[in-house]
Symmetry: C2
Subunit: 463 residues, 2 copies
Amino acid sequence: MLEKALSYAHARHEHYLARFQELLSIPSVSTDSGYREDVRRCAGWIVEELARIGFDNCRAYETPVHPVVYGEWLKAGSDAPAVLVYAHYDVQPVDPLALWDSPPFTPTIREGNLYARGAIDDKAGVYTNLAAFEALLKTAGRLPVNIKVFFEGEEESGSAGSIPFVADNHELLAADLVVISDGGNLRDQPLVITSTRGIVDFEVAVRGPQRDLHSGLFGGIVENPAHVVGRIIEALHDNEGRIRVPGYYDQLQPLTDAEREIMARQEAIFRSQLEQDAGVPFWGERLGPLVERATALPTLDVNGVWGGYQGEGGKTVIPAEAGFKASTRLAPGQDPEQIVEALRAFIMGFASETARITFTHGPVSCPAALLSEGPVIEAIHQAFEATWGKRALLYRQGGSVPIIGTFKQELGLPITSLGFGDGSNGHSPNEYIILEHFFRNIDTAIHFYCALADKMSAAELER
Amino acid sequence: MLEKALSYAHARHEHYLARFQELLSIPSVSTDSGYREDVRRCAGWIVEELARIGFDNCRAYETPVHPVVYGEWLKAGSDAPAVLVYAHYDVQPVDPLALWDSPPFTPTIREGNLYARGAIDDKAGVYTNLAAFEALLKTAGRLPVNIKVFFEGEEESGSAGSIPFVADNHELLAADLVVISDGGNLRDQPLVITSTRGIVDFEVAVRGPQRDLHSGLFGGIVENPAHVVGRIIEALHDNEGRIRVPGYYDQLQPLTDAEREIMARQEAIFRSQLEQDAGVPFWGERLGPLVERATALPTLDVNGVWGGYQGEGGKTVIPAEAGFKASTRLAPGQDPEQIVEALRAFIMGFASETARITFTHGPVSCPAALLSEGPVIEAIHQAFEATWGKRALLYRQGGSVPIIGTFKQELGLPITSLGFGDGSNGHSPNEYIILEHFFRNIDTAIHFYCALADKMSAAELER
């Protein structure tokens, strides 16, 4: 079964690439309502692909926001485990568009990489699984385990529709294990995530005069909202990067010595791979070791700031309004609601009758999650050893997958991660996947599902 | 001469309004190079109008930036004074466009006001003079004084072409007096400006990572340029509004007790008229009396701030770059070059290897100017008394007219102000002129030029 599926996959690189490019060409930006119909079209494309491959009950379930794609193949027998495979088919916005070397939704190959928005985050997760399932079904006529796919269309915008969908569909989504296919490997080092950070986002608007005012007439007598925004942003951190919002670090679950030791061993990899990517020296040493800061401590970043005149030349105005968007990554132990309230109280403390402030909690809110490291990890190691020649590195990741907390809470299942986004520039211009890894990961997925069937029965996975 | 010209003007309100609307419909935004041809077209329109009225040697002189419009009528005899009339035909940008109730370059009358960009600042200055000259020339066949008009096309963008033009054309521009037709009256109170503040503008860019980075991957280990922008903006002022850049107040020329007393008497007018316009309570009491802060103390305002994601929803990035534009109004005594260097040194102090900073001094730079209060003031009082029933209030103004300093320095002439922009929302959406005042000011201008001939000979004006 394994060998035939691998042969099938190897003979069909061109076919896989063409399908993947078709998927990447659909601009499924979930955070911008202008792309609503494209997100829906993307869901439809995946439903058709699932049906073509041989899945049953394939459909796009409507939610109040974007559709959830579901499909199942449950003919592996009751002894085989049932695996709920998660990925997301929505993508980040593309701006600044001017920095893309090729159009973000015209997938383009350059120097062995495939450039497109979503190439790694997370259409690689969606499509690598589909490709593996196709190879297995077209050769063996069956999958080694029972599979339910659950692909959401709003991971990048807070999962406000998908999260209640999970809560309302325990039976449909019942399984023995959840596999999260988001994220990827670090160059030649396979990775498996053992925790994700939580996230909360918010927006602050500071309003002063009723309209932009002439700075010659009103300068010195009207408070400038852009100055208040500067004061708030400055107050959020001390000069070493420590968050100054009262109580921010109070709930942190302390790291164990063992965790600290694993992180220390990962520091060299982080430094060599990520610093080059950033194009700027790392910063923030005073707060703790590098990997700890990047994966286990909370952070608070302004994601966008605006106000007044941004065009060419100058415009001598006092802006009527200025504001910023920010998001904070949460470590295990921090409660998103308590953090939002702490932020709100701190920021509203800058309000006055001359600088009215609005604090809006965005749609994104989830706690950090610790993932299972159960027996499934052995299947992952086996798959990577067979295709990459090395075991996976188990690591905490700094990013957030809001729905993981929901899976844990609603379905009570063990969760593991197996991501296939091997490339760079996620959330940035010129996002790309390394083509060689894209093909290799299809093999990894085939190996993984076969190994999963070999290594464990459904009974073993139950807790 | 006076009466016939006034009768002519009164019978031609419709004609004047139509011409003024034609002038207002040309989008002569000087700060944005996309409007370059429109600025040129506007200059051409005024040249034709001057020639039609009966001026000689009318032409648009090219400069490296935008054209200077010149025209002369010098047949009043050598006993009559020669007056150089200044106004500017360029206008501020229009954004935020969404806040305009009618398109900014489609002049629209609502409730007795004429709405358009430039309706007060400063096409009112340009056209009110033209209308008065037309009335005098069409009735008496002559003007009471010799006139040279000098209308620039880049007052809103720093006069980088006009200033050298003045320096290079002493003979062309030789006169006995300069009348600055910029600014306007305050509701029913005629105003004459006795000083203008200087101005310097600059832009700051903070660059961190080579591209926008995923805040989950890089949060906590890469310094966020938007945070550095917040720190710089916060540092510019203390919480009471005092500028914290070292040395900022060192060169201030102290106010006399007499000046302070005039300002104190103006406080009620400022408060009643301007606070309603601002739509927000005044602020900054700790720094001094209201009128002093608005007209005689330096101010420093952020005019625009940007960085990262500003679209709908969220985008969890650490922006590669953030920045701001700002301008500072200077009081008499402050040297623009020294202030720029003080700002540069202060702001560059925030630079580091993780936050590279660029400080760019914009095109705008001029010192504050004290205007002549010589005998011409009596002609102004007479004109306003005849048309408004009251004498003008002599006051310092908070805004800046960069070219005034150049006139003083290059031509060595006495300068007075006589502005006709009676309305509101200069530099803002929904700029408008009060139509009744627009017509009344044409009378005021006719009275003024006649009074000027009556009251003084060229010899009296010489110093």
